[in-house]
Chain length 578, copies 2
C-alpha cells in the first residue's frame, strides 16, 4: 500500500461556480473548465513563497456568494420602457448578476474585488441587441438621453475595458450579433458580426467547404491566449495580436474594412485591398475601444488552412542576449517568418524546465555540461506555417540561425506540449487566488535597441519585492522589435497592496522605453498614463476624434484610452470605492 | 548609298529647356534626360491616329518662352520681411519662375496649360526652410497671419498636389531638408528628412557600410516610376506604392513613425514596431497630403540589399482572364510574394510586342500557333527578391502557377528590358505632346471580384473615343486584390477637351467599383469625387481632423483631399482661368 507515501495535495476547485455567484463572474473560461497546478508547480510555490501544506488547507474568499448589486439605477422607468419596446423586453435585463457580469472583465484586480463582494462599476441595464439596426436605435437614443453606452464582447478584457464606470447600458454583442454576413472567397475575405467568438469563427473557416461552400479550408490566423473566450470584435477594437501574429499579422493587419455605429452616424470604411485616398478611416477607428462607436461588422482577411505544413522547433540558448540576437536575425532575415515564435528569459526558462520535470534530470546535466546553465539559459520554441516550400525554408533558416547563435535543438516536442496547453494556463489563476497567491501579467511593445533596458528595468522593480517570481517572454516579432510579456507571481491578496505594486510595474514599463501596451489595449486601467506616453499633441488628436464622434461623451466614458481622465484620476488612489 | 531609303524621323527635342522657360517647369526629370519614341512606336502613332510624317514636321506650342507671372502677390512687404529675417533672405524667392515652378506638378493638364502660357495657380512667395525649426516658425507665423502654406517635395505630383490654389507660400523641402537624421541598424530603421530624393536615399542605403558605418548594405524598397524625381516625404504624404510594393509593402507599411509641424503643434508619433494604445496617430497623419501639417522627418524600415538573389520571369498567357486568375492564385498562395509583378491586358501586350519588334516575327507566329493570339494574349513579367531560399521558392511557385493557368515562359529577358527602362518612360511624354498627342494615366485600387468590371467599364469609355489607345496593367498585388493602371493615348491638344475626357475616366473608375486612387493620392484634382466616394461620414472624420490641426485652413487649402470643396467646385467648369 502506498497511501502513507501520498503527499498532500490542495483541494483545487473542481466544481463549476454556482449560477449567480461572484465566482461565476470572475472565473476564467468554461464554467466546468479547469487546469490545476501540477505537483511540481505546487512544490515550487511553497518553496518560493515560504508556504507550507498548511497554507493550502483552507481556501480564502472564494466568491461563492450570490451577487448582490445595490448600486442605484440611473435610468428611468420610461427609458427602460423605451429599450424594451425597441429591442424586445426579453433582451433587456436588470438583474443583479447581469449588471455585474457584463460590467466585469478578467483583470486580477476585478477578481480580487469580486471575491470580496465589491462589484466595482456596474451597468444599470444590460441590452442584447439583435442586429445593427438595434445598435443604431440604441446609440441614437442614448445620445439624445445622455445615457452611457458600454460594449461587452467576450468579456476577457484585462484592463477594465468593459467596466461601466458611469453606469448606463451595456450591449452584449455575443447573444445575437455573432453571424457570418458574407463570405468572399475570390477576395479572400469574410464579413462577420463582432460578437462571433474565436472557436466558432475558426471552426467555420476550417469547415469552409461544407459550411460556406468554399473551394478549400481556411483559418482566421488570430489566436490570442484568450482565443476561446474572446470575440472577433474585441480583437479588433483593442488592437489584439494572436500567438501566430509573426506570420499572420496583428489584428490591425488582418482587418480590411469595418462598420461602426457612432453618435455622429454610421461609418462603413472603404473595402479595397489598398487605396491612396487620404488618411484611412479604418485605421482611425481601429483600436478605439468603444470610445468612438460600436463595431457592428468587419471584413477580415482569411488564410489557407494548411496544418500539414507546420514544422516545429525548440532550442535552448546559453544566454538571454544570444537568444534575443538570434530572434532579431531571424526576423530581419527576409526568408519569411515563423508563425509561433517565443523566447523565454532565464527565470521563465528555469520555471518551465522545473514544471516539465527537466530540472535535475540527466538531460539537465547534459545541458549544464554543454554550457546551458540554470539562471542563464533560455528557451525558444516555435513553428512555421504557410505553403510547404515556404514553411520548409523558414524552418531551415531558423535552425541555421539558432545554431549560429549557440542554440541547441530540443526537437519539436516542447512546442507540441505548448500547443496542447496554449489556451489553458489562465485557468490556473483561480486555484492560486484561492490560496492567496496573485498571478498577473503586463506587456509592452519594444524596439530591439530598448529591449534589454526594458527587461532589466521592469525585473528590477518586480524582483525588489521579496519572494516574487517574474517570468518574461517575447512572443510577437517584427523586423524592428518585439514585445515583452511580464508574468509576476507572489503571495499577495490585499487589494490595495496589489494595486500599488501593479501600477508600479506600469510606471516602470513606460520609464524604460516600452510602449504602454503591445496587444492588451488600454482600457480604463492604463488610461491615466496615456497623456504622458503619447504626449498632449497626440492625445489632442484622439480627443478631437472623440469630440467628433461622441460630443456628449456617452461612448465607453470614464477613462477609456485616457480620453476623459479627470473622472478616472480620482480612482487611482488605492482603496477607492464607488 | 542608302540615304534614299532613310525614312523620316521627327526632330525630337534633344536640348535641355532654356532656364526660366515654361518648358523648364513642365519637362519631366533631368533637364538633359530624354527618351524618344523608337521607330516602331512612331509608326504605330501614325497608324493609330491617322497621322502622317507631315504632322510631325512642325512642333506645336513647346513652352520655350520665359515664364511670366503677373498674378498679384497677396503677401505684404512686412510679411516678406518677416520671412527674410527668419529663414534668411537668400532662402526667400519671389521671381516669376520660382512662383510658377514650385506651384506646378507633373500632370498633363498642367503641361498643356504651361505650353499655352497659362500659369495656373502660383505661389506668392517661395521659401526654402533650412530645418524643422524654420518650418515651425513659418507655420506658426502663417497661422497667425492666415497665409496659405503649400509644400513642394520632388514636384512629381500627378493630381495638382502642389498647386498653390490660394497663393501664399510654398516650402521647398529638397533644398536643405534632405538629410539622414539617424540610422539605427539594430532596429532596422533610418530617420530622414522629407526632402531627401529617391536616388540619393537608395544610394546611401546601398553604401551603408561606407556611409553609415553599417554591417551590411540596405535598400529602401520603394521604387515608384517617379523614383528619380520624387522625395521620401512625397512618398509618405501621398500614400505612395513602389513598383516592388508586392514584396516591400506600400509606403504606409514602410513608415514606422513620423514628425509633423501643424498649426495645432508638432507631433512626433510613437516609434514602436507595434503597440495597442488606441488609434495610431501615425496612421492618421499618413496620406494627409499637407492638409494637416508639414512632414519634417520620418523613421522608415530598411531592407537587406541582395540583388544577387533576384530571379526574373516572364510569361505569355492566352487571355486576360487566365492572367488575372494566375495572379490571384500567386498572391493568395502563401509561399511569399514576388517583388516586381506586372500583368498587361491584351491592348498593352499588343503594343509592347509591337514596340519590341515581336509583332510579325517568327516568334510571333509560334505564339499564335500555340494559341497566344493578338488581341487576346497577355504579358506577365516580374522578379523575386529576399533571402536566396525564399526567392527561389517564390520563383518556383510562380512558374508552377503560371504554367498551370496556361502561361508560356518567355525567359527572364523581358523583365531585364523593363528594369532597364523602368524610370525612363515618362520622358517620352514631352515628345508626344510636342506634336499634339496626349498621353496620360489614371489608376485605381480594386478587389479581385471587381477587377473585370472596372477594366471593362473604363476601357469602354476610353475606347468610345475614336482612335484612342487604352493600355491597362496591374502592378501592385495583395491577397485581396490589386490595382489597375490605365494609360490612354490619343491625338488631342485642346485643354478643355482633354479635361472633359480625363474627368470622364475618373467618373468611370468610381462608377465601376474602383477606388479613386491606388497610389497617386488625391491632390486637388480628384478632390471633387471624395465626398461621393468616401461618403459624408468618412469625409466628416477627415474634416474633423482638418479642423483640429488647421482651424484657419492654411495648410494646402483649395481642394486638397476634397476637404474644402466649395472653392474647387468652381474650377470644374472647363476653361476656368484664375
Amino acid at each position: 500500500m502506498f497511501t502513507s507515501k501520498k503527499s498532500f495535495e490542495p483541494q483545487w476547485s473542481e466544481e463549476p461556480p454556482r449560477e449567480g455567484t461572484y465566482r461565476a463572474v470572475f472565473k476564467w473560461g468554461a464554467p466546468d473548465g479547469f487546469k490545476h497546478p501540477n505537483h511540481r508547480l505546487y512544490a515550487m510555490l511553497k518553496e518560493k513563497f515560504n508556504m507550507t501544506d498548511d497554507d493550502f488547507r483552507e481556501k480564502r474568499k472564494t466568491g461563492d456568494e450570490p451577487v448582490v448589486c445595490d448600486a442605484p439605477v440611473r435610468i428611468s422607468q420610461d427609458q427602460v420602457g423605451w429599450f424594451k419596446n425597441t429591442i424586445g423586453a426579453e433582451n433587456v435585463h436588470a438583474d443583479d448578476f447581469s449588471r455585474v457580469k457584463y460590467a466585469s472583465g478578467k483583470t486580477l484586480e476585478e477578481a480580487m474585488m469580486l471575491r470580496n463582494g465589491i462589484n466595482g462599476d456596474t451597468a444599470d441595464l444590460v441590452l442584447h441587441p439583435r442586429d445593427k439596426e438595434d445598435v443604431k436605435a440604441i446609440v441614437d437614443y442614448c445620445n439624445t438621453e445622455k445615457i452611457p453606452v458600454y460594449v461587452y464582447g467576450g468579456g476577457s478584457s484585462v484592463n477594465f475595458g468593459v467596466r461601466c464606470v458611469k453606469g448606463g447600458v451595456v450591449l452584449v454583442m455575443g447573444t445575437y450579433m455573432n453571424r457570418i454576413l458574407e463570405f468572399n472567397e475570390t477576395n479572400g475575405t469574410i464579413t462577420v458580426e463582432p460578437g462571433m467568438m474565436g472557436p466558432e469563427y475558426e471552426q467555420i473557416l476550417n469547415d469552409a467547404p461544407e459550411r460556406l461552400g468554399a473551394k478549400r479550408s481556411y483559418t482566421c490566423g488570430h489566436f490570442p491566449q484568450s482565443f476561446e473566450y474572446s470575440s472577433v470584435g474585441g480583437w479588433i477594437v483593442t488592437l489584439g495580436s494572436g500567438q501566430q501574429s509573426s506570420y499572420y499579422g496583428d489584428m490591425k493587419d488582418i482587418v480590411v474594412s469595418q462598420e461602426y455605429v457612432t453618435p455622429a452616424g454610421t461609418i462603413r470604411t472603404l473595402n479595397y485591398p489598398s487605396t491612396a485616398t487620404g488618411p484611412k478611416v479604418s485605421d482611425i477607428m481601429i483600436g478605439s475601444e468603444g470610445a468612438y462607436g460600436v463595431l457592428v461588422s468587419a471584413t477580415l482577411k482569411i488564410f489557407r488552412y494548411t496544418p500539414g505544413t507546420r514544422k516545429r522547433f525548440a532550442f535552448i540558448f546559453p544566454s538571454w542576449e544570444s537568444t534575443v540576437d538570434a530572434a532579431r536575425e531571424i526576423f530581419q532575415g527576409e526568408f519569411g517568418t515563423p508563425s509561433v515564435f517565443r523566447i523565454s528569459d532565464p527565470e521563465e526558462t528555469d520555471v518551465a524546465l522545473k514544471l516539465y520535470g527537466v530540472e535535475g534530470s540527466p538531460f539537465d546535466k547534459i545541458m549544464d555540461f554543454k554550457g546551458y546553465r540554470p539562471r542563464e539559459r533560455c528557451l525558444c520554441i516555435g513553428h512555421t506555417e504557410g505553403e510547404r516550400g515556404y514553411s520548409k525554408n523558414v524552418y531551415a533558416n531558423v535552425k541555421r540561425i539558432c545554431k549560429q547563435y549557440g542554440g541547441m535543438s530540443l526537437t519539436g516536442y516542447p512546442v507540441k506540449q505548448w500547443e496542447h496547453g496554449r489556451f489553458a494556463d489562465p485557468y490556473m489563476r483561480e486555484d492560486l487566488n484561492d490560496y492567496g497567491i496573485m498571478i498577473d501579467t503586463l506587456e509592452s511593445g519594444v524596439s530591439w535597441d530598448a529591449l534589454h533596458r526594458l527587461h532589466q528595468g521592469v525585473r528590477e522593480y518586480i524582483k525588489a519585492r521579496p519572494n516574487t517570481i517574474c517570468m518574461t517572454h517575447a512572443s510577437h516579432f517584427y523586423p524592428q522589435g518585439t514585445n515583452l510579456y511580464f508574468i509576476f507571481i507572489g503571495k499577495m491578496d490585499e487589494l490595495d497592496q496589489f494595486r500599488i505594486f501593479h501600477r508600479g510595474v506600469i510606471d516602470r514599463i513606460v520609464a524604460h522605453g516600452g510602449s504602454l501596451s503591445h496587444h492588451h489595449g488600454v482600457g480604463k486601467m492604463i488610461g491615466p498614463w496615456m497623456d504622458a506616453h503619447l504626449g498632449k499633441e497626440q492625445m489632442g488628436v484622439l480627443r478631437a476624434l472623440k469630440k467628433h464622434f461622441d460630443p456628449n461623451n456617452i461612448m465607453n466614458p470614464g477613462g477609456s484610452l485616457g480620453l476623459d481622465l479627470a473622472d478616472w484620476e480620482k480612482r487611482k488612489a488605492p482603496g477607492h470605492r464607488r
